[in-house]
């Protein structure tokens, strides 16, 4: 897979639960400044929260590490790219939960990935050439131009 072009906005934070809100604020501020529509922003915030929580709790297992967040607009979509150096984990291979089953047989593992799928239009994963995980989330958005203000 070719190296994706670097996007304009980026943030690097330590993989700590306290930084989940920092990441959400960053994504919201950039998406708002790019003038994406509110629903697209809310959906992306939900997906990013689930993806970054998975990196912190399942990827790094509470051990020290970093998460790099890069975001921008690509071909009409709001795009967020998450990179980490945790153990390789491909969330696109997580099977969907059976939401028709009663709760007594339902497990909550995989719920976060299910929500990522539900709230984005595309989720792609690759192992980076130098090692580490890269997850790209895309959400189709409506964009308000400066002239519309």
């Amino acid at each position: 897979m070719p190296e994706p072009p670097r996007m304009e906005f980026s943030l690097s934070v330590s993989a700590e639960v306290a930084n989940l809100a920092v990441i959400r604020r960053f994504v919201e501020e950039i998406a708002t400044s790019l003038r994406a529509d509110r629903k697209a922003i809310d959906d992306m915030l939900q997906a990013v929260e689930e993806a970054t929580a998975n990196i912190i709790f399942h990827g790094y297992h509470g051990q020290p590490g970093n998460i790099e967040i890069e975001m921008g607009q690509e071909q009409g979509a709001l795009v967020v790219r998450l990179r980490d150096q945790a153990l390789p984990f491909d969330p696109t291979r997580v099977p969907p939960p059976d939401l028709t089953s009663p709760l007594e047989t339902r497990r909550f593992g995989g719920l976060g990935v299910h929500l990522i799928r539900q709230f984005t239009d595309q989720m792609t994963y690759r192992v980076m050439p130098e090692g580490g995980n890269e997850l790209t989330l895309r959400k189709n958005a409506k964009w308000t131009s400066q002239e519309d203000k």
Partner: protein, 136 residues
């Protein structure tokens, strides 16, 4: 996240727990702990007021599930056991809406999360506080 608790009397005593702010991985244990505290003090019916809940992640959904288990008389997973234990919850609530925990006025984006997680069928959702309290 800020929590508030108000006692109300319908056909049975009801604790109305207001959840203000984000219910996420940083705060969901606090909500479970509050429900445990209320349960130990004798509360058996909780109305979760989500009208000022601005965000709910999958961790927040785990909190709702844990509170429903608690009020059903089951031991919810211990937050001290960590994320993996909580996410491996497999014990159930049975079919249909839970009789002991109900939801009040979730904002549309929170309502969408409940729907997309397939949890709306397990929680009665009310839009009127008085009728919600009297529904227990």
């Amino acid at each position: 996240m800020k929590l508030s608790v108000n006692s109300a009397q319908g056909r049975v005593p009801v604790a109305v727990v207001g959840v203000q702010g984000d219910l996420d991985a940083t705060s969901y244990q606090e909500l479970i702990a509050k429900a445990q505290e209320l349960y130990r003090a004798g509360t058996r019916h909780i109305l979760l007021d989500l009208s000022q809940t601005t965000f709910v992640s999958s961790s927040g959904l785990v909190a709702l599930h844990s509170i429903a288990l608690l009020l059903k008389g089951d031991q919810p997973p211990s937050p001290e056991d960590g994320w993996a234990a909580i996410h491996s919850v497999g014990r159930g609530l049975g079919a249909g809406p839970q009789p002991h925990v109900k939801l009040l006025n979730p904002q549309p984006k929170v309502d969408r999360v409940l729907e997309k997680a397939g949890l709306k069928e397990f929680f009665e959702i009310h839009t009127d506080r008085a009728s919600a309290i009297n529904s227990f």
